[in-house]
Amino acid sequence: MIANKRTYSAVLVVLALTLLAASRPLLFAEPSAARWRVQLDQVDSGDVNIEPAFKVAIYENLVDELTKTKQFKEVLRSGDRSANGRPDLLILKTIVEAYTPGSETRRAVTTVSGATKLRVRSRLCTSQGQVVMEFVVDGNVRFFGGNLRATHNLARNVAHDIQKTKLPDPTPLVSQK
């Protein structure tokens, strides 16, 4: 009787392990974005008169936020030589479309005015120039915090949008070339 029970539980364990091993590729499959590397281009101010500190802050916050999402194998900076010749490379281009400088003091005094507003167009392209996705994102500071917090909010929104989007597999796009 005891031997039967033991055999029964051993069979169950083996079955469970077999099922787990079979479903492992499904359970632990990398999302398609995780098969890509991403390189961030420097922020293009376009026709907009934006302070250099804001451009730098957008860029640095984007690096941080995209790294945090763990959506990509690697987040590379503009000009990074290790990106050369990578077939699985996406390039994130950021173009500023609108910028309204705000004032922390005006926000604190009036509540309704003095907001810092940013709007950028983000474009994710392959290294051959094929646009994979494109979206317009806003980042604002309306109440509390310094003006540069708008860049943090913007970068978080860009990362969130990329995370929501299903990226294509790298192989077909690379072989299309």
Binding site: Q42, S45, D47, V48, N49, I50, E51, P52, A53, K55, V56, A57, Y59, E60, N61, L76, R77, S78, G79, D80, R81, S82, E97, A98, Y99, T100, P101, S103, E104, T105, A108, V109, T110, R119, F144, G146, N147, L148
Partner: protein, 186 residues
């Protein structure tokens, strides 16, 4: 009469000694200033973001030592970059509320909208220095430091003197010379 002369002589000697000491002091001060001019100043700054290996909003000392720009936090840790890797330096100005979260909460809690009046007087102007530099792999970095008003120019001049690349002012102006309406366009 003798009693009157002796003290006056003593006073004269004391005055002479004091003058000599003062002269030496002035000379020493001059020497100190000369030394300060030879070595770069160490400035108390706040690292806003971007300097590799340093957390955002960290306070510390920014100094130029040889061909390196060094940021040292108050706990002793720090980071540095070579001045040759700096691609551009920009100066900016920012008006910020002082007191941080405690004062912000205090403003909110003040009755009869008194917080707004407090906010009107509890702000301070700072200089910001924005650096663009390349890492060893050629990757582009940007870093922003917040300094007391007037210190930004000192840092920029020092960096330029040490060989940092800076876009000429007229080029910067050309880059940014667009109508205000465009920046607000949506």
């Amino acid at each position: 009469m003798i009693h009157r002369i002796v003290p006056s002589e003593a006073i004269g000697r004391i005055l002479t000694s004091l003058m000599l000491l003062a002269g030496t002091g002035v000379a020493a001060d001059d020497h100190g200033e000369a030394n300060a001019a030879a070595s770069s100043p160490t400035l108390q700054v706040t690292h806003i973001l971007g300097f590799e290996g340093i957390s955002s909003n960290a306070n510390g000392d920014l100094s130029i030592q040889g061909d390196a720009l060094r940021f040292k936090k108050s706990d002793g840790s720090g980071a540095q970059i070579t001045i040759g890797s700096i691609q551009d330096v920009f100066l900016g100005e920012e008006d910020k509320q002082v007191g941080g979260v405690p004062l912000a909460l205090g403003r909110v809690a003040t009755p009869f909208e008194g917080g707004r009046v407090i906010a009107l007087f509890s702000h301070k102007k700072y200089d910001t220095v924005t650096l663009q530099y390349l890492d060893a792999n050629g990757g582009f970095h940007g870093a922003i430091f917040q300094l007391n008003k007037g210190q930004g120019r000192v840092v920029k001049n020092e960096l330029v003197a040490q060989g940092a690349r800076v876009t000429p002012l007229e080029d910067q102006a050309r880059k940014q010379a667009t109508p205000e309406a465009k920046s607000d366009s949506k």
